[in-house]
């Protein structure tokens, strides 16, 4: 079973495969956007990932390389997930418990016995600790991959491993925290947000109301976690001279998010004169903010007590998103994913950054290049060869009612960015005429505007294709959603170092380090066929793997 998964990860995985794997509950290749956000703000358009399963697979792995840390005394109550018992079984019946809340368990002591069709299985504990809560009664069906018991773990298990046990919460690495600089990303697919945002600008009067609106539906949760916030958020609050305990948190468990801080500041300063440019920051792209703000799961995450449900109606933004997302999915997507060797690009970038740092630069030019400008330029070069990817589908304006393709000459590449006010997709115009430096400069400009909430409608409109760099948060493969009025989108995964065999003839047995990154393309299958996508993706891949090719195309 595991071999099959490993083999598949090294070739392009079709969407069908992903669905099948995910249904079997064993997929690690499903979009890893950890978009399990709070119930009221689930905006994710990636397929709801059973990330629990992924982490339970991790949990199974990590037992073999666990190190025992005696130094850290950490009292943690962790929900323990029911590990995969094999045979593709997703739920089984609890026959009897051997423990009850309050019972002390050692590593390997029996917790319960479960049964699925013909097999009765004894589940043993992986940790020493005290049982806190049983999630199922004897006779109920327990779901594989979901928590079945809470154990108060004593001693200092590695935080990483303990996280592997918990149901994942919106996660972003500390890199993602610096959303204001560098590649900005979002855990939910950003692309479908863009048309919704365009609409927001069309309905400008509506936008002005949002400061008032956004307060009312949100239930003020100043519960026991009123001061619960990540260090980044605390820092922000401090910087803005805000007492964090006064801010109502909208994140999980009443956590205070960056967006909450900004909202609070705005409400405090002036609620009376919203400017049109304030429209952008007041759009709560909540899931993105939620994801960006919580850097890691807090130890107090689990609350004992019964399940409570609070119905929260969708905000205007969410309604817009809902509609546009639904529209986006009328596009039949197909996923094309590939691995790209970034090793040469990494070297080139290092060299170029050295040059840039030395030379005295005029104001307004970037001092440091990231990978994104290279990728954007590569995409543009591929679009010259395959202009159909830059087109859009037109269903209405043709007089005889048939659909048609509208080819576009300029390459306006939308870049998804994670901002305090949420996910935005500003557009870098006419990439075909820009060089790497100017692309980078434009990116930086758009980024600073986005953070300040000052993006203009021109900056947001006119996109012909979109690129999303989700890899700076995490994730390998994704299945991005195409923005309305476009036919393709590229999602870039995380870069990682892998061993690979040398391609130098004569040294084929030598193992080298390579930096690998996964590109996941989605395209509109009504007008783009797999071969075209494959060829275009190949062009991008060739350019990225051998960036010197760009030298040949210098004008």
């Amino acid at each position: 079973m595991k071999n099959m998964l490993l083999r598949q990860s090294s070739r392009a995985v079709g969407r069908q495969e992903l669905w099948r794997l995910r249904r079997r509950g064993l997929s690690r290749l499903a979009p890893t956007a950890t978009a399990t956000t709070t119930p009221s703000t689930t905006l994710s358009h990636t397929h709801p990932l059973p990330a629990n399963l992924r982490s339970s697979a991790l949990a199974q792995q990590s037992s073999t390389r666990r190190q025992f840390h005696a130094t850290r005394e950490l009292q943690l109550v962790k929900p323990v997930l029911l590990a995969d018992i094999g045979e593709g079984i997703v739920e089984c019946e609890v026959i009897q418990w051997f423990v009850e809340p309050g019972a002390r368990v050692e590593e390997f002591s029996r917790l319960c016995e479960v049964q699925s069709d013909k097999a009765s299985v004894e589940i043993t504990s992986r940790f020493a600790g005290v049982v806190k809560k049983l999630y199922y009664d004897a006779g109920e069906m327990a779901k594989v991959g979901k928590p079945f018991v809470d154990i108060d773990i004593e001693g200092g298990p590695e935080n990483k491993e303990v996280e592997a046990l918990t149901p994942p919460e919106p996660v972003s690495t500390p890199e993602g925290q610096q959303a204001s600089k560098g590649e900005a990303i979002s855990t939910s697919t950003p692309q479908a947000i863009a048309p919704e945002l365009e609409q927001a600008f069309i309905e400008a009067p509506w936008a002005q109301e949002t400061p008032a609106l956004s307060h009312s539906p949100v239930t003020k949760q100043t519960g026991k976690h009123a001061s619960l916030a990540t260090p980044a958020v605390r820092h922000l609050a401090k910087g803005l001279n805000v007492d964090i305990t006064e801010i109502p948190g909208t994140g999980k468990d009443g956590r205070v998010l960056k967006e909450d801080v900004y909202k609070f500041v705005q409400a405090r300063d002036s609620a009376s004169t919203p400017s049109p440019s304030a429209a952008t920051p007041t759009l709560p792209g909540v899931s993105a903010a939620a994801a960006a703000a919580s850097a890691f799961s807090s130890p107090d995450a689990t609350i004992s007590g019964p399940q409570t449900e609070i119905t929260v109606p969708l905000t205007r933004t969410q309604e817009m998103m809902f509609k546009s997302m639904t529209r986006s999915l009328t596009i039949p997507h197909f996923l094309y994913a590939d691995e790209v060797d970034f090793t040469s690009l990494v070297e080139l970038r290092a060299r170029l950054n050295k040059v840039l740092s030395k030379s005295g630069l005029p104001e307004g030019q970037v001092k440091k290049l990231s990978y994104l400008p290279f990728v954007i330029k590569a995409v543009s070069m591929a679009l010259y060869k395959y202009p159909v990817l830059n087109a859009r589908v037109d269903l209405v304006s043709n007089t005889n009612g048939k659909p048609s393709l509208v080819m576009r000459s300029q390459h306006n590449i939308g870049v998804a960015m994670d901002t305090p006010s949420g996910l935005l997709v500003p557009v870098v115009k006419n990439v075909g005429s820009l060089n790497i430096l100017s692309i980078a400069a434009e990116l930086a400009r758009l980024q600073s505007l986005a953070v300040a909430g000052k993006l203009s409608p021109q900056d947001m409109s006119g996109g012909t294709i979109t690129v999303s760099n989700i890899g700076s948060i995490g994730g390998t493969y994704l299945s991005p959603v195409i923005v309305e009025k476009e036919v393709a989108i590229l999602g870039i995964g995380r870069m990682r170092t892998v061993p690979a065999f040398s391609t130098v003839p004569g040294e084929e047995d030598k193992i080298l380090r390579r930096q690998i990154c996964n590109f996941s393309w989605s395209a509109d299958h009504r007008v783009i066929d797999g071969a075209t996508m494959a060829r275009a993706a190949d062009v991008v891949r060739t350019i990225v793997e051998e960036p010197d090719v760009m030298v040949m195309h210098l004008r």
């Binding site: 009765s120 299985v121 004894e122």
Partner: protein
């Protein structure tokens, strides 16, 4: 006659099919030196054992039971599971007296025809510790049980082993199906095409060990009656959680049990003995080990009424279709009102809630709803504590229903009482051990 014929032909086959039989089987065979080397081991050494820990620590162990007591055999099996060395491979073969064996989490009132069992008098009711469905054992059925480390556990691995043994004995069409059962086509020897199940499997997985055991219908004389015992009169009225049995058409393989045992031992050792290089004896176990601490404890548990009846997960019983169980009910010919309905929910075999209506009463004032309520309450009394009404302790429903109205001014009309308790006694006939 057929049996005799078979023996002579297998005698002939032995030399010819040993080699190819090995080569043609699935990849789970570990032995690289098949065939003729084993011919010399046709005479295995047998010894009677007391299940010492030394013995349980050997890499490869083979046991054969001399007892036909199902409770003892299962306890021995459980003891082997718990105390054999974590890296060892154990085979245990046993034959039981006639009994119906239900799975760990099954519902005896749903799976078994308890009145028929009680009538038959010599058929025991057993709840085993592994999962799966309900089966019938008797002297024509051999139970084989393999315990191995979890790392090599595979649902088909040892089923294939038994298939090889069957093929050796001339059952050429034996194979393992997708439900990990062993099936044969026709009579197994090439006549007929219908598929029949001859063996079912169940598993128990603990942290250190994996147990796979199964039956094999060799020459049961009661084949025709098995169906009768496994169809419960309460089935239309009971909705249970837990594993349901899956019915399949069955037949005898028609071979001698001793032959079968020998072959299975051969195949088992072919898989493991060479690999671990030992000279394995077939150990006989039986009544002698009855007094070993663990085994005695195991038997006490398996024979206890709360284990057999009380380990039943929650289920509902209702004489009319309900939301949870909307099936049509067969019409009851009882002396009751038109709105008659009995509903119980039961947990661990104890009545948790009871709802009775439509009984007929004799008494001064007719407040039937109130009387119904009293009866319901009496039945569901003490549902949270020790005094809950246990289904398996009600040996006669007439008495139980009468005592529900004892001390009251009203009582149920006799004909009503008799007809209802007649029906309830069939569905819930008290416990088997009188």
């Amino acid at each position: 006659m057929a049996a005799l014929l078979l023996r002579s032909t297998t005698g002939g086959f032995r030399c010819l099919t040993k080699g190819p039989a090995f080569v043609s089987t699935t990849t789970t065979t570990l032995s690289s030196n098949p065939g003729f080397g084993l011919l010399t081991k046709l005479r295995r050494s047998y010894s009677t054992t007391t299940l010492s820990q030394d013995l349980l620590n050997k890499r490869v162990q083979v046991y054969q039971s001399t007892s036909h007591d199902p409770y003892l055999n299962l306890s021995i099996e459980h003891h082997l599971l718990q105390h054999s060395h974590p890296d060892s491979y154990v085979l245990f073969l046993y034959i039981n007296d006639p009994c119906v064996v239900i799975g760990r989490n099954q519902n005896p009132w749903l799976e078994v025809n308890l009145p028929a069992l009680q009538e038959a008098e010599d058929i025991k009711l057993v709840r085993r510790r592994s999962g799966g469905g309900t089966v019938f054992h008797d002297h024509g059925n051999v139970n084989w049980s393999v315990i191995c480390p979890p790392a090599v556990f595979d649902r088909d691995r040892h089923a294939e082993m038994v298939v090889r043994a069957l093929k050796d004995l001339g059952i050429t069409t034996a194979k393992v199906n997708e439900r990990h059962d062993i099936v044969i086509a026709g009579d197994g020897r090439g006549n007929g095409k219908d598929v029949f199940k001859v063996s079912g499997s169940a598993y128990k997985l603990t942290r250190l060990r994996s147990l796979h055991h199964g039956t094999c219908l060799l020459n049961s004389p009661r084949l025709k009656n098995i169906g009768k015992f496994l169809r419960s009169p309460g089935e239309p009225y009971i909705k249970a959680r837990g594993v349901e049995s899956v019915r399949s058409p069955i037949r005898n393989v028609d071979i001698d049990t001793e032959e079968f045992n020998k072959r299975v031992v051969d195949e088992f050792l072919a898989m493991y003995e060479e690999q671990f290089g030992e000279d394995v004896k077939v150990e006989r176990v039986g009544e002698e080990v009855k007094d070993m601490g663990n085994i005695r404890k195991g038997m006490d548990e398996l024979t206890s009424i709360p284990w057999i009846y009380g380990q039943t997960p929650q289920f509902t019983f209702s004489s009319r279709p309900t939301e949870d169980d909307p099936r049509e009910r067969p019409s009851l010919d009882l002396d009751v009102q038109s709105d008659f309905n009995i509903e119980f929910t039961l947990r661990h075999g104890e009545i948790q809630t009871a709802n009775v209506s439509g009984l007929k009463y004799e008494g001064p004032t007719m407040d039937e709803d109130f009387y119904d309520g009293m009866v319901s309450q009496a039945l569901a009394q003490g549902s949270d504590d020790e005094s809950a009404v246990k289904l398996y302790e009600i040996n006669d429903w007439a008495t139980a229903l009468k005592s529900a109205t004892s001390g009251q001014a009203f009582k149920m009309s006799d004909s009503s009482l008799n007809s209802i308790s007649g029906w309830l006694n069939k569905v819930f006939p008290g416990n088997h051990f009188r």
